[in-house]
Subunit: 461 residues, 2 copies
């Protein structure tokens, strides 16, 4: 579908590397511009760091290095063997040496930067378009430094709120979980993750927020002068999202007829199709162009499909495949009666609007479509979120395409056993709901002790 | 200066790789958005291709490969030695295999795409911030395919006109030259280049446009069905610019006090400095914020500097260093008299405007500043463009920081000898002026035959 809609091409001759086509790039740019706005409005400055990281820096934080070591690409030639460089899999170790130069005293903090770049992972698993890549080409990574743990953790909460807004804007449903200790970001104190569910019932990690504590500032020696003249290490955070949000957007809202793109980020929000019967052709075309002008004035992204060698029916299918949220049909009667026929992509419902109120009618439909897409997607996610008190039951539910919450005492050893016995992946513990009421009287299925939280299990991409 | 203005940082610990800071990124984004507009308006679609190119594809076009072979980075690890990949130094060989899939018949042509990406060159020469890089991080490359040579050459002319507009917009002066055969892009039929002159008299290549003929389409087998049912190879072109335009912008317009950024692309177009004497402080601040609001309404990028621990004088220098085109001062008398004091960054001239006409006055000043910067820069370039009929004279003039035009018969062997004897670099033959009138009666200094063109010599970066 992404190939047919000319959005993306997965036939590029390198494993895990794909090509974005113009329609896809327009969608990307619209998605990027919203996350950019959220970041800029909350005081993040855009930066651009080099792709190359010296091995010497990359290996400084031991846990970080150990975890990434086997999945980094090395650049070896043209360098006379003097330097050993890697292609960034993430930029903490590129950014810290510069933070060290930029941060001197407390007035330089907090320091909040972000970049949208390519990062590289030498995936050995099966690669998958937009989801498991060797070149992640839309990696939005933010990096911040703070004077205190409190301020850094406040930043973590700010980032979580920002990502909520972002996914809400894209009509993508999500769970927010604290990843368990054994699955946090290498080098992090803790990791909070956003997961969504795909139509096949597998979950996809679509955003992560890490509190890094002093783990990176100590090894990179990033210190500052406090207000009372002491020298202390900064506390850092990092958080990222990637083109997986676009994969999600397309997979979650699409149907048998093709894509269905939420109006906020649709490259084309409305397509105008004049019904060009012989004797009314000129009038229909004229009217279509007038409407196009009106829509552009109102900052609505629209096009006219005036191709003469295609039938209206062919055009309907064509634009449905591309996921254009609203189709505007202009027939002879519509012109006569100063009316307009509007068709929603999500429900295929038809509406009539008077010509004068077209813009308002469209804006109303856009918000209705978004509401519907968001609700439908959340309904699906919620219908797949189950509670199981026994591990075998959890295993069965995960196999059936559910996300399953199992009572958990909170000890790593029990958590690992739950994960192993359920033979599934783990998302962590819920941060998006009150747990205490749910776990009363529930017991950890491994040790039998009173549960104090839930462990989310799923089949992850 | 670029370090002090917090635009760019050259202290990143990898040779030829640098860091863009938020102020620099804002400038970049503004520069990019104009070239993007020019490209989109002329029918180019944005794409994004992978960084990795398989060696097998990269080496298909023999001349292209031979020339880049020694300056490409190889990616060797994490790939189990199955594939041999290079980091793109330019994307012709990544794009052609996809053009092959996308182009079927004449209705698919012309096909015009562009991307703004990082490209990599394992430079062995001394690297230089924004100018000679190992990671060129703002490479705008366009690639087009056409049914006929005529249409491809029309595209070459369109690209040249687009680049003229682009450099004019940035107030950057340029020469347009046909590069000689021995210095064209590897794999091109011919290369047209834009060069500018830096304050030290050395020239910098800031844009190139290549007609590639069928050189790439033949080796990548990119064919199409013509209207009369024949199968033919497409004709391709490519053209590129990089962050060198920003280096030029800063170097050409800057002075002893710092940067001077043309208003079109200045991240901050006006800085408002309230003079905060004790008793009028509140009023001055209030007025400053009102003005800020008015300017934002008018889409003018402005900030208020209301820091209390800095003197007005300190602030003047600070914003001059950053190259903000206009400074707005608000003193007690200004408020009293409903006036405003404006100071130009380029000439330091002071103006008074009535408060009501502030926006108009600013917009007028912006266009005056741009006119002045453009004229000054062109004046400098023109003052350094010399004609010499003898090679020793040409050599001397080049050494003194000039671009020198020498009569030339047009034969490669003579051109190479001129270049060698003048011990200088060559830019090619002028495409931006009528030559016939100039070369009448002039003779090639090597063979003594009648000259039919001029060969431009310079000291190139």
């Amino acid at each position: 579908m992404i190939l047919e809609s000319e959005l993306y091409d997965y036939r590029y001759p390198v494993k895990g590397c794909y090509v974005w086509r113009p329609y896809g790039m327009k969608l990307r740019r619209l998605v990027e511009s919203y996350i950019r706005k959220l970041l800029e409005d909350s005081g993040h400055g855009e930066v651009l760091f080099p792709v190359f990281i010296p091995h010497e820096f990359f290996s400084k934080e031991a846990e970080h290095f150990r975890n990434f070591e086997n999945e980094v690409f090395w650049v070896t030639k043209g360098l006379h063997g003097e330097e050993r460089l890697i292609l960034r899999p993430t930029s903490e170790t590129a950014i810290m040496p510069m933070f060290r130069l930029w941060i001197r005293d407390h007035t330089d903090l907090p320091l909040k930067v972000y970049q949208i770049v390519s990062v590289f992972r030498a995936e050995t698993k099966t690669t998958h378009p937009m989801i498991r890549l060797r070149e992640i080409s839309m990696f939005k990574e933010a990096h911040t430094a703070h004077a205190t743990r409190d301020d850094a953790e406040r930043q973590v909460r700010e980032a979580v709120e920002m990502y909520r807004k972002f996914f809400d804007y894209l009509c993508i449903p999500y769970l927010v979980s604290m990843r368990p200790d054994w699955d946090k970001f290498p080098g992090a104190v803790y990791t909070i993750a956003f997961d969504t569910i795909m139509p096949d019932g597998k979950t996809l990690q679509i955003g992560t927020v890490h509190y890094l504590g002093e783990n990176f500032s100590r090894v990179f020696d990033v210190k500052f002068l406090t207000q009372d003249g002491k020298i202390e290490y900064v506390h850092t955070t990092s958080y990222g999202i990637s083109e997986r949000v676009i994969a999600t957007l397309l997979a979650v809202h699409g149907d048998d007829r093709g894509l269905c793109i939420p109006p906020h980020v649709a490259p084309i929000q409305a397509v105008i199709i004049p019904i060009m019967y012989k004797d009314v052709k000129e009038r229909a075309l004229q009217e279509a162009r007038k409407i196009l002008e009106d829509l552009r004035q109102a900052s609505i992204r629209a096009v006219v499909d005036d191709r003469e060698d295609k039938t209206p029916g062919w055009k309907y299918y064509y634009w449905e495949l591309k996921g254009v949220p609203v189709r505007i049909e202009i027939g002879p009667r519509d012109i006569e009666e100063k009316k307009i026929t509007l068709v929603r992509r999500d429900t295929f419902e038809k509406y009539e609007a008077s010509r004068d109120e077209l813009v308002d009618a469209l804006l109303y439909l856009f918000s209705e479509i978004e509401k519907n897409l968001r609700e439908e997607a959340w309904r699906f996610l919620n219908s797949r979120l189950k509670l199981a008190s026994r591990v075998d039951e959890a295993h069965k539910l995960v196999e059936e395409g559910n996300i399953v919450e199992v009572p958990w005492c909170g000890k790593n050893e029990c958590g690992l056993k739950i994960q192993e016995r359920a033979n599934s992946d783990v998302l962590g513990t819920p941060l998006d709901k009150e747990i205490s009421g749910i776990v009363t009287d529930l017991r950890c299925p491994v040790c039998g002790e009173r549960a104090n939280t839930l462990l989310r299990l799923a089949n992850r991409y």
